[in-house]
């Protein structure tokens, strides 16, 4: 567990165990070595499916998903009319070849249309360069984030691997599918058809634009992008009308895998887990993910950039750990930034766990926990408090982005048993330390839920928590609406449909 190599060893020995159990018969496949791994992954997954209902969430779909009306119980509040749009990796295999990592699947933009007569669900794949090339070939021909294809087409840059599968944003009137390491893909909001990559400026063509932009209450959108090859962090400020105001890059030593960031009134805040890019590994034909090395001795570095001086970084350090998601950050008058995030002890899930699920295996390593961080800019120190809630997909009231907030919503892992994911949703009151939650049940895999404010109200958290979940026992997808301040009461509105969608990532609500 001390470095990436030991992770890799774990994975290999797991594969050897499988082989020893006779689950696979590699020589019989008669495939070249590079291809064999992918077919073996597909076979390993198939072998586990019957025994583990949770694997349904990772089967994936092969084509656009036709519209289906959901059965609605209750009446949708008119303020929710519009759409919930969710993105996520969804085409996990093609031509019998299965990707090694969950993050490699092509992005499927799902839309739940919310109207007075009910909810209709549909989905459309983002037509990225990679999606089109792979589809034309009938098998993956371009390497993915975590799957290196020795005989694949050489990448031209980050967008070669771009599957636009992580999140979605609507800003300046434009809908975009987002991925961590490449360009945003522009979508037609009416049809969900792909229009092409977003170029913010000629200088920033093809420069990564992460999947976690932060939109401030005034409509200003901030974002970043990590260029591992160049060892630089790109920074973007976009005006409310969608026009780029500022774009710059900053050299970052030991550039790390960074998925999310936070904005405060005066600063941008990055947590850099010690999962560090090593160009030599990339050149030796490893996947992009496997070119990263776990270097716990670096700690978890905290980079704080003044919004008005993006070239003047301040550095802090927290105990070693790995973070995908941040809820929010704000700073008090004494110059202390308070931030909440979901922190794991190491990068096991990113480097191993999310490979294991693609082979139908669930490991029981430690999950991410809600963690409160204080960064004292004057005293120049940072510290953290790890709370007991095993949780992910943190969301806040969007009217509080960068400002003082008290409430955090998230998917919660209470007691789902021997499977990945979450079985409950929670609202955590940061000031009081109180948690309200609703448990769907062990057979329900909870996707990200998001907060939608009640129109006319300004009180933080006054509104609804809206989200989807996968009923593994019944093969249904659920759509739920909660009164955000009364989660324990259960959904006030729920809809269902008799098809189980691939487990997805981030979502937005777009009002009608």
């Amino acid at each position: 567990m001390q470095d990436f190599l030991s992770h890799d060893t774990t994975r290999r020995s797991a594969l050897q165990r499988l082989l020893g159990a006779g689950a696979l018969s590699l020589p019989a496949l008669g495939l070249p070595l590079a291809a064999r791994a992918d077919a073996a992954t597909a076979q390993a997954f198939e072998a586990q499916r019957a025994a583990h209902p949770w694997t349904q969430a990772f089967v994936g779909v092969q084509a656009d998903v036709a519209p289906m009306a959901m059965t609605l119980h209750g009446k949708l509040p008119p303020a929710l009319h519009g759409a919930l749009l969710r993105n996520g990796p969804a085409r996990h295999q093609l031509g019998g070849m299965r990707y090694h990592h969950w993050f490699d699947g092509d992005g499927l933009l799902q839309r739940y249309k919310l109207g007075p007569t009910g909810i209709t669900h549909e989905g459309r794949f983002v037509r990225t360069e990679k999606y089109l090339a792979d589809t034309a070939a009938g098998k993956p021909v371009i390497s993915g984030f975590g799957t290196f294809l020795a005989d694949g087409k050489p990448p031209t840059g980050p967008d070669s691997l771009n599957v636009a599968n992580t999140s979605v944003v609507k800003h300046g009137g434009e809908l975009m599918a987002l991925w961590e390491g490449g360009s945003a893909y522009r979508l037609d909001e009416a049809t969900l058809e792909t229009r092409g990559v977003k170029t913010w400026s000629p200088d920033f063509a093809g420069v990564p634009f992460s999947a976690h932009p932060r939109i401030e209450p005034d409509g200003t959108m901030w974002n970043f992008g990590v260029s591992a090859m160049a060892g630089r962090l790109a920074l973007y400020r976009v005006r409310p009308d969608g026009v780029l105001a500022t774009a710059t890059t900053l050299a970052v030593p030991d550039i790390a895998m960074v998925h999310d960031f936070a904005v405060t009134e005066k600063h941008l805040v990055f947590l850099l887990p010690p999962l560090v890019f090593d160009v030599a590994r990339m050149k030796s034909k490893m996947s992009f993910l496997d070119a990263h090395v776990w270097k716990p001795q670096l700690g978890l570095r905290v980079l704080v950039l003044p919004k008005d001086a993006l070239d003047k970084p301040q550095w802090f350090e927290l105990p070693t750990g790995f973070v995908f998601h941040i809820g929010n950050a704000w700073e008090d008058p004494d110059g202390v930034i308070r931030l909440d995030c979901m922190r794991a002890a190491d990068a096991w899930h990113a480097t191993v766990g999310l490979k294991e699920v693609m082979r139908g295996h669930f490991g029981t390593e430690e999950f991410a926990h809600l963690t409160l961080v204080e960064i004292d800019l004057k005293a120049r120190r940072a510290r953290q408090q790890v709370l007991p809630q095993a949780s992910e997909f943190p969301r806040i009231d969007p009217r509080r982005v960068g400002q003082r907030h008290q409430q955090l919503f998230a998917a919660l892992r209470l007691s789902p048993g021997d499977r990945p994911g979450y079985d409950a949703v929670m609202r955590h009151d940061i000031g009081r330390g109180h948690t309200d939650h609703y448990r769907y049940g062990a057979d329900v895999m909870v996707e990200e839920h998001l907060f939608v404010p009640r129109p006319g109200s300004t009180r933080e958290g006054d509104g609804w928590l809206v989200g989807t979940a996968l009923d593994l026992a019944k093969g249904r997808t659920l759509f739920s609406v909660f009164e955000a301040q009364r989660l324990a009461d259960g959904p006030v509105v729920q809809a269902e449909m008799p098809r189980l969608m691939p487990f997805g990532l981030h979502a937005i609500h777009v009002a009608a």
Binding site: K153, G206, V207, A247
Partner: protein, 139 residues
Amino acid sequence: MKLSHLIAIAAISAGTGGTAAALTLTIEVTDARSAQGQVSAAIYNSETGWLKIENAVQTQKVPSAGDKTVLVFTGLAPGRYAFSGYHDENGNGKLDTNVLGLPTERYGFTGSGGLMGPPSFSDAAVDLQADTTLRVTLR
């Protein structure tokens, strides 16, 4: 030069290999994004001169034909040659790059090297001993 060019054409029309003194290397450039602008290319015959345009054996600029643009280099002595080309889509005479230094127009080489950045001359070079046609897929 003119004579060798004629010999090369004769060789092509005869469907035979070229003469020892004057071979033709035909490059079919595919996967341009559009039929805008031109395909700008050069061939080189040494590692030391590789990718330095002043050291190119020959250079060419041909209007992009979109799906397949054909560049014909003639009058070449037998030996090792490597091709480097790009699609100058906006016709500004250079391979545009972004702030990170990554090309934003498509480019390609002979050979299969260059997983991360340009290949070496030896990875890109082909041994030319007869008239030869090669395909270069832009990326």
